[in-house]
Symmetry: C2
Subunit: 202 residues, 2 copies
DNA sequence: CTTTCTTGATTGGCCGACCAATTATCTTTG
DNA sequence: CAAAGATAATTGGTCGGCCAATCAAGAAAG
């Protein structure tokens, strides 16, 4: 009836996807093995075949979401072409769009943060993700500085600022979609970033 | 042994404070009535005398944290004097300091967000808080615009940007204190805000 | 002697983890 | 190539434990 050999990855991803849906619906508090199994259309027992425990499933969910974020950012980078300004704008737009288009993904992040706060291993995973994002943004900034598009500035600091801004505004979007629209948010975020990186006025 | 009449508020705050400590240690997932009671040095039963259920305790914890944030922000505003620029700088500094000095408070926020994502009433409470913060920041911005300190801009949008920036950078601080220091963060956040609001635009 | 506050034990339910048994697939062997 | 293991995948049920909420009863204050 069900496929067997060599389909482990398929089943695994099915479970992870179901987990993300459950997480978005009920949060980590309301996340039970039973619900996940039901959502994925598998038996409860199998969850512990693919994952050591509940935390491992949460980590897998974050990894999936992270991979998707990376993919979107990379796509945005590519779309932005060679120009640092355009690449940065595309990056900001991609991140903000994620906050509303893939609301479930953002929820996974927030739920993960909650657990992370009191679990060192989870914290390390998150720290690595943020470091990666800062490095990526920093690289674009440095590229722009070299090209003379942006003012001379420390890439690392600028990256922290830009990432913080995008994160913070995304949160506001995810929390309360009525406050302002994505389009609006994208506009004033890119505006802020460009002002921040603009060359000094003579 | 224990005081009785009219001490309800005292006991209540003792419970809430214990809840905040527990929340910071084990998160909302690991928050149990037993632990809170033990931490507060009271019996389990009393928790349901002061609070309808677990969620009500979480709400109370957020209210306490929020009140503290408001107090700090108000103090910063007063310290900043009349000058819009200084007031804004003081505000940013106060928020960022909270992320490390009162780490427990910040954790309460994150835990609350996790629960909020799938609970409308909690979401409304949070939305009100953010709206209040935006209004407050917006007012300072408008004041600066009127005084000619800042460029002409929409107070509401600027407030969302500034709040987002502070939130996002605070998160990075709370998540991984080794990434950069508070002093550093404060410096480049205020720098970013000032550039964003600066009159001379290229 | 009434009201307010407090206790600690109880209860019903659910959860994560574990496991023995079963089925499907692959591999080896005659 | 077919029978016979060997291995991988899957199931459903079980179990000990813990949790939130309830409650009857008691203690302190008015």
């Amino acid at each position: 009836m069900s496929p067997k050999r060599g389909v482990a990855p398929l089943r695994r991803t099915a479970i992870v996807r179901a987990t993300i849906r459950c997480l978005a619906r009920d949060g980590y508090t309301g996340l039970t093995m039973k619900k996940v199994a039901r959502e994925a259309g598998v038996s409860q027992g199998i969850l512990h075949y693919y994952f050591a425990d509940k935390r491992a499933i949460l980590v897998a969910a974050l990894e999936t979401v992270t991979a998707d974020l990376d993919r979107r950012v990379a796509a945005a980078q590519a779309r932005g072409g060679k120009d640092a300004k355009e690449r940065l704008q595309a990056l900001v737009a991609a991140c903000l769009r994620l906050a509303v288009e893939e609301r479930a993904f953002w929820i996974v992040f927030v739920e993960f943060w909650g657990e992370m706060m009191h679990d060192r291993r989870l914290r390390e995973i998150n720290a690595a993700l943020y470091e990666r994002m800062r490095r990526l943004i920093g690289a674009v900034v440095v590229q722009g500085v070299r090209a003379g598009t942006f003012r001379r500035t420390d890439g690392r600091r600028a990256a922290a600022v830009i990432l913080g801004l995008v994160d913070g505004v995304s949160l506001q979007l995810a929390f309360d979609a009525t406050a302002f629209s994505v389009a609006e948010a994208t506009r004033f975020c890119t505006d802020a970033v460009m002002r921040y990186l603009a060359r000094e006025v003579p």
